[in-house]
């Protein structure tokens, strides 16, 4: 007997079963643990027997926890800003280069992604350390007497994170800038605008979709970069991923760790939502060709 009766080509007529494997994987490995995490966070004691909002109240009334959240969100903003300021000129250069230089730029930008995160992070330790490359060069040149402290500082951490996240910023920017009609800057110049005016009035607004996309990706990646944060940041600086890890693994306080996760998740979602709202407003004209 024939079972299929709907017209061919109708997408909805295809069996939803095709989506089942991915759907199941999502449900089992993502939705379920998240639900479990949420369930766990709604308990007041470490053994998870007493229901209550105690963990959330504890976090939101604890200045230390709030400071960790604040510094994590701030770290993300700083890394994003660094990536934007450094990445925009790279994307700009890419669009104005010949194909050979373009390949080179892409290679350099993608290189961090092709290296293991641990290797990459240790490389930064070697570069930034007390006896690291920068310090020994500066010392041998006689520019500094005592080694500068760069490792285990916010600045060092931002540099390391910015390098790793750079592709996430540069690639969307390259796409966005590449979609801008090159005649527009010529038109602007012929109408009497100098290059700065052309950049601010034409190029920047039209590359806004790329800026928003790049910032969202960079931000989300920077604040959750557990390994880089821990190794380059060291013990003195505590960020949300490490805080969470300590609560879960060292202190075995699973409900509190779960509550941290949920709060962190929503904080990040709020910021991503903010970016995408800005993005949608920017896209109002940015998509016009």
């Amino acid at each position: 007997m024939k079972s299929a009766t709907t017209a061919p080509g109708d997408v909805t007529s295809f069996s939803l079963g095709l989506a089942l494997p991915l759907g199941l994987a999502f449900a089992i490995f993502f939705v379920l643990p998240l639900a479990q995490l949420f369930y766990l966070s709604l308990h007041n004691d470490t053994a998870a027997t007493v229901w209550g909002l105690g963990q959330y109240i504890k976090f939101l009334t604890d200045p230390f926890s709030l400071a960790v959240l604040g510094s994590t969100l701030l770290l993300g903003a700083e890394v994003t800003l660094a990536c934007l300021v450094l990445g925009y000129p790279i994307a700009w250069l890419y669009q104005r280069s010949g194909s050979r230089v373009q390949t080179l730029i892409i290679m350099i930008v993608l290189l961090p992604l092709l290296t293991s995160v641990v290797v990459r992070t240790f490389a930064w330790i070697v570069i930034l350390g007390r006896q690291g490359i920068i310090n020994s060069v500066l010392q041998s040149l006689g520019l500094i007497g005592t080694p500068l402290r760069m490792i285990y500082t916010q600045g060092g951490l931002i540099a390391a994170l910015a390098q790793v996240q750079m592709p996430l910023m540069v690639l969307p920017l390259i796409t966005a800038i590449g979609r801008i009609d090159p005649n527009l800057s010529d038109a602007s110049a012929s109408l009497g605008a100098g290059s700065w005016r052309t950049f601010v009035k034409v190029m920047l607004p039209l590359s806004m979709p790329g800026i928003i996309a790049g910032c969202t990706l960079t931000y989300a990646a920077a604040i959750t970069a557990f390994i880089t944060q821990s190794l380059v940041g060291g013990g003195q600086m505590l960020f949300m991923p490490m805080y969470l890890y300590q609560q879960a693994s060292t202190l075995q306080n699973w409900p509190f760790a779960a509550a941290i996760s949920i709060i962190f998740l929503f904080a990040v979602l709020a910021i991503v939502a903010l970016f995408s709202t800005l993005g949608r407003r920017a896209r109002g004209y940015g998509d016009a060709r």
């Binding site: 005649n183 110049a189 012929s190 009497g192 005016r197 004209y285 016009a288």
Partner: protein, 361 residues
């Protein structure tokens, strides 16, 4: 008109440009454009006309020669200080700015205050008959409307020279004619010296006061549309502008009025010689299809009808000459114009001796 007398002249003085790769883009171009004139730069793609336009606008610095606008040599000025208005082929309107802001952009760059800017933008939009569209975005307008906005935007800065880069190429045929008339009207109103870059000969001949024909970076001829069409100076101009039948031959004799040429297809033709030729030179004779007629005497050359094409108002016959050359002859269609059967033997000659043109090979 007062504005016309203020219009600036444009002189291209021995402009030569080589690309970084060493390719010659334009070579030794001299053009003398009077204030208020419309000039067409006509040529096939790759002839250097767009390079020339970009040199005038200042986007490319020429290798040699000078660009003189009015009394000033502008070679040292960047594009934003040349006051040259451009309408780009794709219009290049700023997609994120309203129509009114697009038109006022050049004034904003000159530090004109917002109220004056809006008023001036409105005046220009009224002039291009887009008065009510100021608040819209460019993508909400049709192609013809966008082009008028681009024109208004370029005219807003009161440019000394207006450059139009293939301005009608993106429009469909009916709209194109309307826009050509519109642009010519606006140009007359503003009195701005205008250069149109085009590969469309009809556009060039109908719009321009004078036409500069370019080929491979060389200026082939610079003259009025009728000079270009009726007295082509080179073989390229003769075959690129209008249609031309080309026939090979050898010069038999020359005199003040031209040259007598023995065609390879048999027969002899008297032709005008814009470039000097002398007896026994191998030459190419150009004959426009509308300058040929069927004859019953023994002038001209013989052939047989290949095909008859009734094209509405004209009838075109394709003729195979004795040496195999395919010749087209076009006649106005009157009530009695018969279509001739394929294979009919005929004789064809120019309507008058001066209508054939001979070029040395």
């Amino acid at each position: 008109m007062a504005s016309v007398s203020e219009a600036k002249s444009l002189v291209l003085d021995r402009i030569t440009h080589r690309f970084a790769s060493g390719t010659m883009a334009v070579s030794d171009i001299n053009l003398d454009v009077k204030g208020g004139e419309i000039i067409a730069l006509l040529g096939p793609s790759g002839c250097g006309k767009t390079t020339l336009l970009r040199i005038i606008a200042g986007f490319i610095g020429q290798s040699e020669g000078r660009v003189i606008i009015g009394n000033d040599v502008v070679d040292a000025l960047p594009p934003n200080r040349r006051a040259v208005g451009i309408v780009f082929q794709n219009y290049a309107l700023f997609p994120h700015l309203s129509i009114s802001e697009n038109v006022g952009y050049g004034l904003a760059a000159r530090g004109v205050d917002k109220a004056t800017r809006a008023k001036e933008a409105q005046r220009l939009l009224d002039m291009v008959q887009l008065g009510p569209f100021g608040e819209r975005l460019p993508r909400q307008l049709s192609g013809g409307q966008q082009q008028r906005v681009a024109l208004a935007r370029a005219l807003a800065i009161k440019p000394s020279i207006l450059l139009l880069d293939e301005p009608f190429a993106a429009l469909d045929k009916n709209l194109r004619l309307d826009m050509q008339i519109e642009v010519k009207r606006l140009q007359r109103m503003a009195g701005t010296t205008t250069l149109i870059v085009t590969h469309d000969q009809e556009e060039a001949l109908s719009m321009a006061d004078r036409v500069a024909v370019l080929s491979h970076g060389h200026l082939e001829q610079f003259g009025t549309p009728s000079e270009i069409y009726d007295q082509p100076q080179t073989l390229f101009v003769n075959s690129f502008v209008g249609t031309a039948n080309k026939m090979k031959g050898v010069v038999v004799a020359t005199d003040a009025s031209g040259a007598k040429v023995a065609l390879e297809a048999g027969g002899e033709i008297i032709a005008r010689a814009p470039k000097p030729v002398s007896a026994s030179d191998k030459v190419t004779v150009c004959l426009r299809p509308e300058h040929l007629t069927f004859v019953t005497d023994d002038t001209g050359f013989a052939g047989e009808i290949g095909m008859a094409l009734p094209l509405g108002a004209t009838v075109v016959h394709e003729i195979k000459a004795k040496d195999g050359t395919s010749i087209k002859i076009s006649q106005a269609r009157t009530g009695g114009t018969p279509l001739r059967e394929a294979g009919t033997p005929v004789r064809v000659a120019p309507l008058a001796p001066g209508l054939a043109t001979v070029f040395p090979e």
